[in-house]
């Protein structure tokens, strides 16, 4: 545990009253789990879970050239994001290395004179992203504002979440598509209601002012009682995103990798107008990926019960052929699973003879396509 002072969210006392096990996550004292992380995971898969994600970093970008700035600073084509919609994207260095993966929400009303974006960064990278956006804003008629302290973020995730949220708001949830967001009122509290998440389930993320977080948490807890909603910590959030095959910065993504190395080259939009940071290096990375395929991000499913962890070596025929980036026991599959970067020769689903070196013992693993879990729509 770090000895430096940890930051606490607006819901800190609520978590402690619920008996949460807390953990240091990117300098924040966050709930790891309230009871059994397996029960929390299964609640999100089958009913609903309530998360405090206030550690995420919000950065507001406004002004006449806000879209041009984001098109220059990020690899996606943000200019094509319509009001009320959101986009998964990345910010890269000049050399193409990934600084962070982001969700950008466009918040202005249709027809507004000036665009208004909220960029949501990982807690561990929020300062880096803020600094990069501020630096890259030079010469653009746009303002970059640190809004990390302006928002608390609650998430309701799971198949029961639309019904639970509908009982607390008049907002048109049926009209709110995946990766869309609209301003509204939830339980009497002004909120940005977004249909996003990191669990592989239907669900919502609610950005509210910190002073409203406790009232909203309590209202959601009460509204979800009958549907089986329970509070959920970061431990199950990690296994939920892993089953859904979603990358985590620091595990699957890093400055040492370009989006093409991570199998996410589709987020880079070369066809957009104007230059953007990393264009030249990413053009080369795209060509390299086509001619000399880099290691491929694959899924691994254990035949036994020992759990692979980040950094463990993937082996075949006595050779090291890759490295585990994330691993955990999968509550849905009932077996340990992992994401790993492996040599292309061993990346095809069903490849024989692949194992993970678990503290000296080579445990057999099956190579599978990602994701491990896809919800039925």
């Amino acid at each position: 545990m770090s000895s430096t002072e940890l930051r606490r969210t607006a819901l800190d006392a609520t978590h402690r009253a619920l008996g949460a096990t807390m953990t240091d996550f990117a300098g924040w004292d966050m709930p790891l789990r309230y009871g059994s992380e397996r029960e929390e995971h299964l609640a999100v898969r089958t009913r609903a879970g309530l998360f405090d994600l206030s550690h995420m970093g919000e950065i507001t970008v406004t002004g006449p050239q806000a879209a041009e700035l984001l098109n220059f600073a990020l690899v996606g084509n943000i200019a094509t994001v319509k009001p009320g919609r959101a986009r998964y994207t990345m910010i890269c260095r000049e050399d193409g290395g990934i600084l962070d993966d982001l969700i950008v929400y466009r918040l202005d009303e249709p027809g507004a004179a000036s665009a208004h974006y909220m960029v949501v960064a990982n807690a561990s990278n929020a300062q880096v992203v803020l600094d990069a956006l501020t630096e890259r804003a030079a010469g653009f008629d746009a303002e970059v504002r640190d809004d990390r302290d302006a928002y608390a973020l609650l998430a309701v995730q799971g198949p029961e979440s639309p019904g639970i949220l509908a009982s607390l708001t008049d907002a048109d949830l049926d009209g709110l598509k995946y990766y869309a967001g609209l301003p509204g009122t939830v339980a009497g509290v002004p909120a940005l209601i977004a249909r996003t998440g990191y669990t592989g389930e239907d669900g919502f993320e609610l950005f509210v002012r910190p002073e409203h977080a406790v009232a909203l948490w309590e209202a959601l807890t009460k509204a979800g009682e009958g549907a089986g909603l329970i509070p959920c910590g970061l431990s199950c959030r990690d296994t939920l995103r892993l089953e859904a095959g979603m990358p985590l910065y620091g595990n699957e993504l890093s400055t040492a990798l370009t989006p093409f190395d991570a199998g996410l080259g589709r987020v880079v939009k070369f066809e957009k107008e104007g230059d953007f940071v990393g264009r030249a290096a990413l053009t080369e990375a795209a060509e390299r990926a086509a001619t000399q395929p880099p290691r491929v991000l694959v899924g691994l499913v254990a035949e036994g019960r020992r759990v692979p962890r980040a950094g463990y070596q993937v082996v075949a025929g006595g050779e090291v052929i890759g490295e585990v980036t994330s691993g955990a026991p999968s509550p849905t599959l009932g077996r340990p699973i992992a994401m790993a970067y492996v040599d292309p020769a061993h990346a095809a689903p069903g490849t024989e003879g692949v194992g993970v070196d678990i503290r000296g013992s080579h445990e057999p693993y099956e190579v599978v396509a990602l994701p491990f879990y896809k919800r039925q729509k």
Binding site: T21, S36, R38, S235, R306, V307, R309, P329, R359
Partner: protein, 125 residues
């Protein structure tokens, strides 16, 4: 949580029973089980293995981490709990009962094992 009075405890969070028919039972405490989170894999010593007080003799794997299992005493393993190997969640649900780990014929017991009250104070601090 309450630590059974009749057991003795190590600072590595194992518990040890009095010998019955020449063998003492070893498990991990409820405090340790709660700290680990859901236990998903248990590796135990084999019957007949010699274990040494304070040294690792197996491992416990939970969702987030893997932890070494330390033997609280020296001796020879006479039985392992196959139920907990097949269903590691017993460590969480019944750490002092059905979640016991192995039985050992004790040849040497360290003098510094804690009483229930001492262990409770140790984990509170």
């Amino acid at each position: 949580m309450s630590n059974p009075q009749q057991l003795r405890y190590s600072k590595e969070h194992e518990w040890l029973s009095d010998a019955v028919d020449g063998a003492s039972t070893v498990g991990i405490t409820e405090h340790a089980a709660n700290a680990l989170g859901d236990v998903v894999f248990v590796q135990l010593p084999d019957v007949g293995d010699s274990v040494t007080a304070g040294e690792t003799c197996g491992e416990l794997e939970s969702t987030k981490s893997v932890s070494d299992l330390y033997s609280p005493v020296s001796g020879e393993v006479t039985e392992v709990n196959e139920d907990v190997v097949n269903d590691p969640s017993l460590v969480n649900s019944a750490p002092f009962e059905g979640g016991w780990l192995f039985k050992v014929r004790v040849t040497d017991e360290p003098a510094d094992l804690l009483s229930a009250d001492e262990y409770t104070a140790f984990t509170a601090g």
